[in-house]
Every structure is written in structure tokens, then in C-alpha cells.
Amino acid sequence: MELFNNTNFDFLGKKWPFIILSLILTAAGLVSLAARGGPRYGIDFRGGALVTVTFAQRPPVDKVRATLDSKGLNADVQEVQGKQDDIIGIDVRDDLALQAARQKIVDSLTGSFGLPSNGKYNVNSGGAGALADHLRDPLQAAGVPVSDQQLNDWAAAIMDYRTHHSGLIRNLDDLKSVPGITPQVLNVVKQATYADTLAIVATEVVGPKIGAELQRKAVLAVLYALGGMLVYIAFRFEWIYGVAAVIAVFHDTIITIGLFSLFNKEISLTVVAALLTLVGYSMNDTIVTFDRIRENLKILRREALEPLINRSVNQTLSRTVLTSGLTLLTALALFLFGGQVLNGFSFALVCGIIVGTYSSVFIASPILIFWHNFVEGRKNPGGSAVSVPREPAVVPKPVKEKAKVSRSAAKTK
């Protein structure tokens, strides 16, 4: 089966609508960024405290916010996306003493939404060791014969049950199904402990200094990496190819960051990893096209640059569509079913693959042509070649002259 065979679409003839679309997307992103005062950084980059809480019965977000407000915590409360609706992320941006902030959030939440402890131990807090410690004496008092090893196994089994139920034991009676927990043991567990209606599943506290440092480092690393790629491509092709590839990749990154801003999504460290991935994809795509152009320049010496590039894009079209389609498929699967942790990551991938694919054709390739025409225009100022030919490039231009230029392009720089 073949999807594309000997296609002959005039891609470059239709470059303007795409370039304008790119400009609109970039502008929209930049406006959104400007309006929101820069990207919405995750706490990795700006510092702060983030607490993720699972509730047995989720209270309204407003109520959680009000509770924290009344405790003097200026917090941003949001439902965590891509997850059953029982998780809330709470994010304190204030430059409070960070350790204190974390404890304060936890205390005010358990105070307002949790159950009173009545001197019992909360099975939805702490680990197996603490649970075993709190069960040891009550078990002994109840006359349940138990060795230390057994007790630890039970505690570990209960914690394991909790882990596999989103970190929250909703009802102590559920523990019947845990191996080793006989009705007798369960009775003791119920006497000594209680299951609170909320549990802290993750906390992150990042000092503002570290955040700024991470931000600077990540940006620098990416810029250096782009520079490295530019040099390598310039070395393997010509310098203008390197510039075109890097501009295309830069374009993809800007648009993706802009989309993050438009959709009000946070840029976290994981998203940075995704941005790196999309830089990789887009660069890969651009190089495949360039490679074909280079190959065709060697064989088809008589063809003008624009039709030659068009031909190259057409020749690699089925590969481009297949690869992008297949990777997009995987990224989409991650985006739709990958869970909350991967949500930002896969969103960046989906945007990146789409934008990265078309930028090879509609951004990187036109730059080659613009440059080519610019050089040529300077060579014969009176000539008509300065303007970009809008007509389908199938119409032959003065072929001989062009071919000469394209072959000697390296020397003219």
C-alpha cells in the first residue's frame, strides 16, 4: 500500500498563507505572554510550595481557597487535570518561609476538611513504620498474638493497598481484603486508627533562588544546544541551512510556549523536557528535507531552486506524513490517556509535532529561497529575481542562469 506516489504538490507556491498563519500564531502567543506578564512558570522555576491533595469527597475549589485565605495563605487552588476529579493542587506563591508554608497548608486543610483524630492515628498519613508503631501496643492489649515481622508485613500490606487506591483509604472496612488482616486484627486497627478523608499525595517546595537558577540554566542549555546544531548543519550543508533550521526550530518553540500561555498551562521542568523533545523532532524533520535538497542539487543541476525544493519536499512527503502521523499518534495517546503528570508534557509534544512538521516545509525551506533570491538580487540589481515568484514554480525561469547561481551559492557568501 502506498499513500503518496509521485505527488507533485506546489508547497512553496502556497507558502504565504502558512507563513502568515505562523506569524498570527506567534503574535497571538506573544500577546498572550505579554498580557500575562511572561510564561506561567511552574513552581520548579519560580519557587513556591505545591501540595497535591486527594479527597474522598472533593470540596468545592472555592471553599478550599477561602479556607486557606482565612489562614493567611495566598494560594492558587486548582483541580488537577486529566485525573479523576478528586485531586486538587494547591500552590502558594508567596515567598513565605517555605517549610512553614507546607505545614500550614496541610494543617489548615486537615483542620477544615479532615476528620477529628480523637487521639487515633491517621492511616492516610505516614508510612508503614509509623503504622506498625501505632498498632503494636493496641494489638498486644487486645491479646492478638503477633510477631514483629508479621506486624511489619501487615502494615506494609495496608500501605500497599493505600498506594493502589490513589493514596487514600476511604473506609477502614475496605481493609478486609488486605492479606493477613483478619476480622480480629481489623477490629484493633479500627480502634487504634481512623481513615482521614483527605491525603497529601505530593508536595513540592522550591526556594525562589533555586527556581531562578533552574530557569536560567534550562534556557542557556537550550540556546547552546541550538548553537551547536547550527554549527554542525552549517558544516555539513551550508551556513544558511543551519540558520534556516534553527529559525524553524525557534519558531516551533515560540509557538508552543505561546500556546501554553494561551491555554494558561504551566511550564514545568517536565514541559522543558518536552520542548527539548520537540526541538529534536523538528530538527530531525528539517534535516531530512534539507538532505533531499542537497542530494537533488547534486543530481538536478539544471533545475531552479524553488522547483527543486518543491520536488524534494514532495519526494519526502510520504515519509514526513508517516513519521509525523505515527509519532503524533503516540503523543496523542499520551495526551488523552497519559494521566495528570504527563499532561503538560504530552500537550507540548502534540503542538510541537504539528508545528514542527509544517515548519520544515513552510519556514525552513522558504528561508533558503529568500536568501537565494536576496543574493541573486544583489548580484544583478536590475533583475526581476528580487521579488519572490508567486507563480507555481513549475513555470521555468531562465534555467541556466539560476542553476549556475545555485551551484555557486556557497562561493557567493
Binding site: A130, A202, V206, A218, V272, G280, D291, R319, T327, L349
Partner: protein, 538 residues
């Protein structure tokens, strides 16, 4: 099958075996497979759940302690050499950046003794540079080489101590290492897999358990002001006021000697024990030989006097010395077993040479880690299955090549991570996803090229050869470009960015092997058996 293909096949089989060994070792049973896999594949904290702490070591503490020790020694030396002085003291740098601005001031050295003073300090205190302020006063600053060494020693010692403390809790998989940020030499990264409530660990680390056994000079006072007032508003030389831990809002203050009789480092062993008669928990400690001799002399001379046991700047108890004590003692007053054994652990592990400030704390509950693995894995698998099904459908027999190459690529990648002892984190998975994308791309590039060659009317074998060799230059360019960018990411990036770069580079190298070498060998193998090949399933 010709000899060439045989050799290639042997290489491929060898690589597969090495990889499988890297992932699961030599299992004897089914359970072994799982156990070895878990042992070899390290999941990062973001996937497995656990706590990560970044802390800044307050190096100035170590500098102050170093200066205090030097001051004590100076007093002894000067006395020995009959050098008089009116005062000797140090400054009090409070910020990390000021650590090496530590300075000792010696005042009132008679002019007649200045030569002796100079020679004593030059001989005995080589870590210090002496500057005369006037004819009788001097200051001493640390030599830059020495302060660098002190910094390094403090960091090493801090890391070792934290490790001992954490291991004492049975958290053996934990790690302590410098964060590696170039401009943050005093930062440490502590990783605690499986710990979802770091409170206890942090408390244990935070409790420096700087134990001092101080000589009580005066007290108790009800307030600090009362203590000060009694001494005319100025503390006597070499003393300090220390408070007890507040008990229902009440504190008592003691005036104690600034240089302790024994310190934490003098403790050889400590353990929690229960007082048989009252049932209270206490912490018993044993002193090192040298400290025991000192302690014995001191207690003998001070029977009837009070001493203060000070832990982390708080008086825990102020017992009256009843009799001569040589090498062991008990600290009472613990609320329960946990507190007593924590103190014992802290005393055993030694105190941190400097306090720490937490700059970052991340805890991923195991349930969240498990969820994200499960969901990510499910989604990733679904995506991959879709890709494989499509390749088989679109490229038919050749799709099998691609699928084998893809699976093999993943196997090499995971095995390499295991051999390098690398940790798989979320950004690492991003690297794997890009790897898989580029692996799919390599196969697609090659197959499309072969199809193109076939269309030009080439014979099957020639078309395959041409397809591979033409696609190869493209594949090399895309791969090398990405490797170049990874090199920069690795050099200039921080933790997660580095993790991404490492997995990606491994994946790309594996891909060059699988997509080009392995896939070509499979083609060659398929084509070599037949006399005349007229059609290719691609």
C-alpha cells in the same frame, strides 16, 4: 546463508544476550526475573515515589568552630610560652558568603613579647595569617588554601554524617550528593526513595545533636536579662548564656563556659535504654578514651558543681556532679522511646559540622508515582501498538523488520541504562519517546527510499542496497545533529535536562545499530536464500 550474514547474525545475537543479561541477570526462577529487573532498573523519585531535599550547608558554622578551637589552643600555647594578652576573641560571620571572613583578634600583647608571639603563631597556627593592627593588637585571618580545605572537609563530613543518619533509619537506598551547581558549592541533594513523609527524616537531620557538656558558671536565671544584669550587662570572658527547652512557657537560663568539656565528637557510642525502676526512656552514651580521661579529671575537680548538657544550643538538663565519672553518662528527659533512640542515633552519627537550610523539598507519594507510571505506560503501549500495527499493514513483511528493530532498540536502551546505573525519570522517558520517534523515522526513511528505488526499475537486491545507503546519509545527519545538541544539554543542563540528554544519546546510538545494521541484516538474510528475487514485500 553466506558467511558475512552469519557473522552479522552472531554479533546481533551476542548484543541481545548481553542486553538481556543487563536487564534481568541470570534468573533461576520466575521470581528472580522480577527481582533482578527491579534491582537493575532504577526508577527516579518522580516515578517511584519518595522525597528529594536540596539543602544548603551553613559553612560559616564550621569556620566559627574552627576558630574557637584555635582560640582554645592559642590560650594554652601562649600560657606555655609566657605570652600575656588581655583579650582574644573572634568575629561572628552570619552568612554563608562571609564564612571565610572569619577573624581572630588578639589584644594587649606586650611589646616585649611580640617576637615570641609572632614565632608561636607562625609555628603553631600555620593555617592563619597574622597581621599587626598596632604595637599590641593583632588579627589572624585564615589562609585561602586552608579555608578552601575547610570548606571541602566540611562538605565531605556533612555528607558522610547525613548518610550515617539516614542509613541508621534503615533507608539504605537513599543517596546524598552535591547538587553540582557550579555556583552553589555548599549545596547537597538528598534523595529518599519510598519516603512520602519526610518530616521525621528532616527533623533528624535538622537536629544537629551538637552535644556539649558545659561547665555551669552561674544560674539559673529566669530571663536572659536577669543573667546579664547580674554581671553588669557584660558577659564574663568566654562564657555564654544558654536557655533550657521551654516547659509550658517557662525557661531557665544558665551562664556556662563557652568551650565545652566534651563535645559530640567525643562520643564513641550511644543507645536508648529504659530506666528499670521508673520505666523512663533515656539515652546512654560512652566516651572515647581521650575524652574519658579529660572528663574524669573535670568531674573529679568539680564534684558538687553544676554542669549543663546542651544539645543544639538548648540546655537539656543541668545535673549536679555527684561523683567522678569516667567514660559513660546518661541523658534523661526523653518523652518516649522514639525521642530517646533518635537522640542516640544522632549522637552516634555525630553532629553535622554545620547546620543546614532547606532550599527545596519534593515529595511524590508512591500512589502518584504508581499512577503516573501505570497511565503513562498504558498510553505509551497503546500508541506503540498502533504504530506497529500500522507499519505491519503498510510495509507488510518489511514492517516486521521495523518492529523487530524497534523492540530491539528499546531493549538496548533499557539494558544500557541498567549497565550505566542510570536512573529513569520522567524527562528520561521523554528522551525514550523521541528515540522511538526517530527509530520509526529511520525505518520509514529507509523503506520509502527502497520503494523509490524499486519504482525506478532497479532489481530488488540493488534497490535494497541503494535504499539503505542513500537513507544512511540522512540518518547520520539527523542523529549526529541531535547528539551534538545532547552534548550541550548534558554539559550545561541541570538534573532533568541531563537525564533527557543521556537517554536520548543512548537511544540514538542503539537506533543506528538496529535501524541500519540489524534491519539490513534481516533483509540480506531474507534475500540471500532465494536464487532470483523478483518481488519484495515492502
Amino acid at each position: 546463508m553466506n558467511r558475512n550474514i552469519q557473522i552479522k547474525a552472531a554479533v546481533i545475537v551476542a548484543v541481545i544476550l548481553v542486553c538481556i543479561y543487563g536487564m534481568i541477570g541470570l534468573p533461576k526462577s520466575k521470581a528472580d526475573v522480577v527481582a533482578n529487573w527491579k534491582k537493575n532498573i532504577h526508577l527516579g523519585l518522580d516515578l517511584s515515589g519518595g522525597t528529594q531535599l536540596v539543602m544548603q550547608v551553613q559553612l560559616q558554622d564550621a569556620f566559627k568552630a574552627f576558630a574557637d578551637t584555635a582560640i582554645d589552643r592559642m590560650k594554652d600555647e601562649f600560657r606555655k610560652d609566657n605570652i600575656d594578652f588581655t583579650a582574644i576573641d573572634r568575629n561572628d560571620p552570619n552568612k554563608l558568603e562571609d564564612a571565610d571572613k572569619i577573624e581572630i583578634d588578639v589584644k594587649g600583647v606586650p611589646v616585649t613579647k611580640s617576637a615570641a608571639f609572632r614565632s608561636t603563631t607562625a609555628e603553631q597556627f600555620q593555617e592563619w595569617v597574622l597581621t599587626a593592627l598596632n604595637s599590641t593588637d593583632y588579627k589572624l585571618n585564615m589562609k585561602p588554601t586552608e579555608s578552601l580545605k575547610l570548606k571541602q572537609d566540611t562538605m565531605t563530613q556533612t555528607m558522610a554524617t547525613i548518610e550515617r543518619k539516614i542509613n541508621g533509619l534503615g533507608l539504605t537506598e537513599s543517596s546524598v550528593q552535591p547538587t553540582g551547581r557550579s555556583d552553589a558549592e555548599a549545596e547537597l541533594l538528598v534523595q529518599l526513595p519510598g519516603v512520602d513523609d519526610p518530616g521525621h527524616v528532616k527533623q533528624l537531620l535538622q537536629t544537629q545533636a551538637v552535644l556539649e557538656w558545659d561547665d555551669v558558671k552561674d544560674g539559673p536565671f529566669n530571663t536572659r536579662e536577669e543573667g546579664l544584669a547580674k554581671h553588669g550587662g557584660v558577659l564574663p570572658l568566654n562564657t555564654k548564656l544558654v536557655a533550657t527547652a521551654p516547659v509550658s512557657g517557662q525557661q531557665a537560663w544558665y551562664l556556662v563556659s563557652r568551650s565545652p568539656v566534651i563535645r559530640g565528637v567525643d562520643i564513641r557510642d550511644a543507645h536508648a535504654s529504659q530506666d528499670q525502676s521508673v520505666g523512663r526512656w533515656e539515652t546512654a552514651f560512652v566516651l572515647s578514651q581521650e575524652a574519658a580521661r579529660r572528663f574524669e579529671k573535670y568531674t573529679e575537680a568539680n564534684i558538687g558543681n553544676r554542669a549543663a548538657i546542651v544539645i543544639d544550643g538548648q540546655v537539656i538538663s543541668a545535673p549536679t556532679i555527684q561523683s567522678r565519672i569516667s567514660d559513660s553518662g546518661r541523658i534523661t528527659g526523653a518523652a518516649g522511646e522514639q525521642e530517646a533512640s533518635d537522640l542516640a542515633l544522632n549522637l552516634r552519627a555525630g553532629s553535622l559540622p554545620a547546620s543546614v537550610i532547606y532550599e527545596e523539598e519534593r515529595t511524590v507519594g508512591p500512589s502518584l508515582g504508581a499512577d503516573s507510571i501505570q497511565e503513562g505506560f498504558r498510553a505509551g503501549t497503546a500508541g506503540l501498538v498502533a504504530v506497529v500495527v500500522f507499519m505491519l499493514f503498510y510495509y507488510k513483511r518489511a514492517g516486521i523488520n521495523a518492529t523487530l528493530a524497534l523492540i530491539f532498540n528499546a531493549v538496548i536502551l533499557i539494558a544500557a541504562l541498567s549497565y550505566f546505573d542510570a536512573t529513569l525519570t520522567l524527562p528520561g522517558i521523554a528522551g525514550i519517546i523521541l528515540t522511538i520517534g526517530m527509530a520509526v523515522d529511520s525505518n520509514v526513511l529507509i523503506f520509502e527510499r527502497i520503494r523509490e528505488e524499486l519504482r525506478t526499475g532497479k532489481a530488488v537486491i540493488a534497490a535494497v542496497d541503494a535504499g539503505f545507503s542513500k537513507a544512511f546519509s540522512t540518518i547520520i545527519d539527523t542523529h549526529v545533529t541531535t547528539v551534538v545538541s545532547c552534548a550541550f544539554l548534558f554539559i550545561f543542563g541541570t538534573g532533568p535536562v541531563k537525564g533527557f540528554a543521556v537517554t536520548l544519546v543512548i537511544g540514538l546510538v542503539a537506533n543506528l545499530f538496529t535501524a541500519v545494521f540489524v534491519s539490513k541484516t534481516i533483509f540480506d538474510f531474507e534475500l540471500s536464500g532465494k536464487k532470483q528475487v523478483t518481488a519484495l514485500s515492502i
